[in-house]
């Protein structure tokens, strides 16, 4: 049993621990292999440039989404639930970017018997750019 955070202990304004990865072809190719996402502009610099990214190939939005899901899971522990996740891909994930998932609690309330905590989330790059504004709702256990 792994409970990292209880509903009782969460306060509006709290930040979840930052979750980071430096990404490049080693990560993108592994993700392509499981998600069958061999899109040319993720695989090849020339195709990346043709798609309008001067730096070449770029990372998958779906992988950033995975990082967001992983950050939430690692924060809440195995006993929590993730009810909702939403995000927009605003900036490109360039090769060797360090992506850091951040989240801040903006609301907590009991909805239909569930202890729901709402967060504003983002995925920041090493230049401080917000690449992926979004939100999440997680369900946390009570202390007994």
């Amino acid at each position: 049993m792994s409970v990292n955070v209880y509903f009782d202990d969460v306060r509006v304004g709290d930040e979840m621990p930052t979750w980071s990865r430096q990404t490049n072809f080693m990560h993108w190719n592994r993700y392509a292999a499981v998600n069958d996402e061999f899109v040319p502009f993720h695989m090849d610099d020339e195709d990346g440039r043709k798609a309008g990214n001067a730096a070449g190939a770029f990372g998958m939005g779906n992988l950033r989404y995975a990082y967001l899901a992983n950050a939430l899971r690692d924060w809440i522990g195995d006993e929590g639930e993730i009810r909702e996740v939403g995000c927009q891909y605003r900036a490109i994930n360039q090769k060797n970017d360090t992506l850091s998932v951040v989240g801040k609690v903006v609301e907590k309330e009991v909805v239909d018997g569930e202890n729901q905590v709402r967060l504003e989330t983002n995925v920041m790059n090493q230049n401080g750019e917000a690449t992926c504004p979004g939100h999440a709702v997680v369900v946390l256990p009570n202390k007994r």
């Binding site: 499981v34 998600n35 939005g61 899901a69 992983n70 195995d78 996740v85 979004g134």
Partner: protein, 162 residues
């Protein structure tokens, strides 16, 4: 880039709007699919045991291994090319498509042995002038249920084409 056209919205898109597709089924999810997914998305660190250690997972509230939230049971279809997910934009224009984001609501987790049923509809679309000329935004709704008829996930996915 879309040049020389006034709109990218096709009659097929107008017709498809709001119409649910026939459901399609995923192959059965395997423990190994889940393990590999978790390794890829946690790379280079070790993924949590909830996603691969059956003994550990049995002791959690889930009673066994579950899939990471973002797991895609529809990856690797046998038949290629994949049928288009939704009605195509106007013909004769070469477009680049990118993933604009999504909002997902989750119910039951996916587990080894599950077969997921998906149905899709083109919920809405619009177009506007953007950085790359005329840009088409589509909003596809995708609903997943498991073999017990339980709700798994609803996604509203934004597609951008230019």
């Amino acid at each position: 880039m879309a040049t020389g056209v006034d709109t990218l919205i096709s009659p097929a898109m107008q017709e498809a709007k709001g119409q649910w597709s026939e459901p399609r089924l995923s192959p059965p999810i395997s423990l190994s699919d889940i393990r590999k997914w978790a390794i890829a998305t946690y790379w280079p660190e070790t993924p949590p045991p909830l996603y691969w250690d059956t003994d550990y997972a049995a002791g959690t509230r889930w009673g066994g291994v579950v899939a990471p939230l973002d797991f895609n049971p529809f990856a690797w279809p046998v038949k290629r090319p994949r049928p288009p997910a939704a009605a195509a934009p106007v013909e004769g224009v070469r477009l680049t498509g990118i993933n604009g984001g999504q909002t997902d609501t989750y119910g039951e987790p996916m587990r080894p042995g599950d077969v997921i049923s998906a149905r899709t509809r083109l919920a809405d679309f619009n177009e506007r002038q953007g950085r790359f000329g005329l840009m088409l935004y589509t909003y596809n709704e995708i609903e997943w249920t498991n073999q017990n008829g339980e709700f798994v996930r609803r996604r509203i996915a934004t597609g951008i084409r230019y």
